[in-house]
C-alpha cells in the first residue's frame, strides 16, 4: 500500500516537470482566474453597489413620504400644545407621495421607468406624538414627534438573475426598509 502511494507521487512529479515552461498552461490559468474568480467577484460587488444605490433612492422617497404626513396634522390642536393627526388622510397622503416619487400606480405596482420590480408593500406606519422617549419596533429611540414606517420593496437584480431566483425562490430581491423621520413641528 505504501509503495503504491510513493509510485503515484513520483508519476505526478514527473508529469508536473513535463509541464514546466508551458506558456499555454499559464494563459489558461490566468484566463480561468479572470473568468471564474475576478469577473464573478466584480459582478457581485457591482450588484451590491447597485442595490445600495437603489435603496438610497427608495429611502429618500420614503423619507419624503414620511415628512409629507406633516400635512395630516390637525392644525386646530397645535395651539393647544399637542400634535394629533387625521388618520383618514394619513395613508392617502403617504401612498400618494410614495407612488409619485417611486413611479407607482394606485395599487402600488411599478409603472414604466420605475426602479421597483413588483408591488410595494407598506407593512407599518406609526406616528409618535407623545410619551417620549419612546422606542420604535426596530429599537430606535424616539425623542421628538416622528413617523416610523416599514416597507418592503422588491427590486430587479441586474446580474445573477437566475441564481438569485433559484436560491431565494423569488424573482426579485426584497429590500426591507425601515425609516424613522422626525416631524418638523417647530417651523
Amino acid at each position: 500500500m505504501y509503495k503504491e502511494k510513493k509510485y503515484f507521487i513520483r508519476i505526478n512529479n514527473k508529469n508536473l516537470n513535463s509541464l514546466k515552461g508551458s506558456s499555454v498552461a499559464d494563459i489558461l490559468i490566468i484566463a480561468s482566474i479572470i473568468l471564474f474568480v475576478f469577473l464573478p467577484i466584480f459582478c457581485a460587488l457591482m450588484e451590491r453597489y447597485m442595490v445600495f444605490s437603489k435603496s438610497q433612492i427608495i429611502r429618500d422617497a420614503i423619507d419624503v413620504a414620511n415628512l409629507s404626513l406633516y400635512y395630516a396634522i390637525e392644525t386646530e390642536t397645535l395651539g393647544k400644545g399637542f400634535v394629533s393627526f387625521n388618520e383618514d388622510d394619513l395613508m392617502q397622503i403617504y401612498k400618494k407621495m410614495l407612488s409619485k416619487n417611486l413611479l407607482l400606480d394606485a395599487e402600488m405596482n411599478p409603472t414604466d421607468n420605475s426602479i421597483i420590480g413588483s408591488e410595494v408593500r407598506i407593512e407599518s406606519i406609526m406616528i409618535y406624538t407623545d410619551g417620549f422617549p419612546s422606542v420604535c419596533p426596530f429599537g430606535t429611540v424616539i425623542t421628538n414627534p416622528a413617523v416610523h414606517s416599514y416597507i418592503i420593496v422588491p427590486i430587479k437584480p441586474v446580474f445573477f438573475k437566475d441564481i438569485i431566483s433559484a436560491l431565494s425562490g423569488k424573482e426579485y430581491t426584497e429590500l426591507k426598509l425601515h425609516i424613522d423621520s422626525d416631524i418638523p413641528v417647530n417651523n
Binding site: 515552461g21 479572470i34 475576478f38 457591482m46 444605490s53 419624503v64 415628512l67 400635512y71 407621495m97 417651523n187
Partner: protein, 125 residues
C-alpha cells in the same frame, strides 16, 4: 523562459486594464448618488420655503458644477402654499473619461435626472 515572461507581462497588463475599466463602471453611479444628495438638500429647503428662489437655483447649479456636472436644467415650484405639492426636476450631464479600449480613453457623457415631489410646509400669513 523568455516566452513565459512575455505571457506574464501581457497578462498583467490585460488584468490591470480590465481592473481599471471595471472600477470605472462605478464612476457614474457614484456621481448620481452625489447628485441625489445635493438635490435632496435643495428639496428640503424648498419644503420649508414653499419653493425655490433664483439664488437657491444658482447655489444648486454651482454645487452640481463642482461635482463635474454640466448642461444643468432646473425646474422647480415657486411660492407654494402650505400643504400643496412642490416639485423639483433637475437634469444634468455628467462627463467623465473612461477606458474604452486596451489603450484608448474617451470622454463620455451621461444624462442624469433627479425628479421628486413633496408637500410644502410654508405657512403664509
Amino acid at each position: 523562459m523568455p516566452s513565459k515572461a512575455v505571457v506574464f507581462g501581457i497578462s498583467i497588463v490585460f488584468m490591470i486594464v480590465l481592473f481599471i475599466s471595471l472600477v470605472e463602471f462605478f464612476l457614474p453611479i457614484s456621481a448620481k448618488s452625489d447628485m441625489d444628495a445635493i438635490c435632496r438638500k435643495a428639496l428640503l429647503k424648498m419644503e420649508l420655503n414653499g419653493g425655490m428662489t433664483k439664488d437657491e437655483k444658482d447655489n444648486l447649479t454651482n454645487a452640481l458644477r463642482e461635482k463635474g456636472f454640466d448642461a444643468i436644467t432646473i425646474e422647480s415650484s415657486e411660492n407654494v402654499k402650505y400643504g400643496e405639492e412642490i416639485s423639483l426636476y433637475v437634469e444634468a450631464y455628467y462627463s467623465y473619461s473612461k477606458l474604452t479600449n486596451m489603450f484608448l480613453r474617451e470622454n463620455l457623457g451621461q444624462r442624469m435626472v433627479y425628479s421628486r415631489k413633496s408637500l410644502s410646509r410654508r405657512i403664509l400669513n
